[in-house]
């Protein structure tokens, strides 16, 4: 398969999340306009920073007249989870030339990680074509994000109640579709249950810290259940 076909597969795998992201892009553009920020600021945010949730948080902080360092520190905390994505993807990118890795880093968003990472596990992406699938995914999302930002900034107020339509549910359903194939053994179920309980318990922590804490606890649970079962198996094998 060639570059274009692989990129196309990445884009196709991202379609549900692109649809789910449309209301957020429109909402971001219209909120920026509602806060009297110029359309150029909205465009610069979406095209240069390219970080969905951090962009919304920044709008709130700008409206609250927060100082620059608070906005930047908050952005840092909100985006911390991307370190986990980068660490998890390292094994699939380490052989690639630096230029490609620099480009891929720019596109390391929730949606692309969610769409492409399982493809490595399911065998539909590998070290030879994974980066092409990845770039197809993030470029298609990038295009949507910037177009909807501009549309929102120009016409957001003419789409009444858009945020109540529930288009974001597409993302919920997609993530469930991605997660369920993993749920085959106790360690993955453990991580799944802990992620649910902790993310709900900690959901009121500021700046998505709850998400980060819940993720770390879930990863730790999966890891410990995994080592416990492998140790047990090793002991049983030793006794035979």
């Amino acid at each position: 398969m060639n570059l274009f076909q692989n990129a196309q597969r990445g884009a196709l795998a991202s379609i549900p999340m692109i649809i789910g992201g449309i209301p957020f892009g429109l909402l971001f553009g219209s909120l920026a306009a509602a806060n009297d920020l110029s359309i150029w600021f909205a465009i610069a945010m979406s095209s240069i920073v390219f970080a969905g949730s951090a962009q919304f948080v920044a709008l709130g902080l700008i409206a609250a007249d927060a100082p620059l360092w608070v906005i930047i520190l908050t952005t840092f905390v909100v985006n911390l989870r991307h370190i986990l994505y980068a660490a998890d993807l390292l094994r699939f990118v380490k052989h690639l030339p630096l230029k490609l890795r620099l480009l891929m880093g720019f596109g390391l968003i929730d949606e692309t990680y969610a769409a492409v990472r399982p493809m490595f596990d399911m065998g539909s992406a590998d070290k030879s074509n994974g980066h092409q699938v990845y770039i197809g995914s993030f470029l298609s999302f990038y295009l949507m994000w910037n177009i909807t930002t501009i549309m929102g900034a120009l016409a957001g107020e003419y789409i009444p109640g858009l945020s109540e339509w529930g288009l974001e549910f597409a993302m919920v359903a997609t993530f469930i579709g991605i997660v369920t194939p993993y749920l085959k053994s106790a360690p993955y179920w453990g991580a799944f249950v802990v992620a649910i309980v902790c993310s709900v318990l900690f959901r009121d922590m500021p700046n998505q810290m709850g998400l980060i804490v819940a993720t770390l606890l879930a990863v730790a649970t999966g890891y410990f259940l995994d080592t416990m079962t492998t140790n047990k198996n090793a002991k049983e094998t030793a006794h035979v």
């Binding site: 920020l37 600021f41 610069a44 945010m45 240069i48 920073v49 390219f50 951090a54 920044a58 700008i62 620059l68 906005i71 840092f76 985006n79 989870r81 991307h82 994505y85 980068a86 660490a87 998890d88 390292l90 890795r101 620099l102 880093g105 390391l108 929730d110 990680y113 969610a114 990472r117 529930g166 974001e168 549910f169 597409a170 993302m171 919920v172 359903a173 993530f175 469930i176 579709g177 991605i178 997660v179 369920t180 194939p181 749920l183 360690p187 993955y188 991580a191 799944f192 992620a195 649910i196 902790c198 993310s199 709900v200 998400l211 993720t215 879930a218 990863v219 649970t221 999966g222 080592t227």
Partner: protein, 109 residues
């Protein structure tokens, strides 16, 4: 806010966002992952994706909303069951979304 301040916000936010995303990738060819970390990282997809959507599906502005009248919960439950039984991603997404919008229409939420 002045234009300079707005420019600094863009530059600063870009630097921390891109920095977080790219730092590990830049050193990727030299990095050697300790074995335990490699083992732990395979639980990241399940953990983070679940942690992102669980509050959306199980809570609303008032708090816990585990109710058959909550379209988010019912849609997510339908998707979860479909995914576990049929293990087909597209089917999971379609059933989840259809159930969600049907529930929204029925309950008027």
């Amino acid at each position: 806010m002045s234009n300079v301040e707005l420019l600094l916000i863009i530059v600063g936010m870009f630097m921390v966002t891109y920095g977080i995303r790219v730092t590990l990738f830049v050193g990727a060819n030299r990095a050697e992952m300790p074995e335990w970390l490699d083992k732990a990282l395979k639980f990241v997809p399940v953990s983070v994706l679940t942690a992102i959507i669980a509050p959306m599906a199980l809570t609303n502005d008032q708090g816990l909303a585990v109710s058959l009248l909550n379209p988010w919960f019912v849609g997510a439950l339908a998707a979860l069951i479909t995914g576990l039984v049929f293990k087909r991603q597209l089917l999971t997404i379609c059933i989840g979304v259809v159930v969600f919008f049907l529930m929204k229409m029925v309950t008027g939420n």
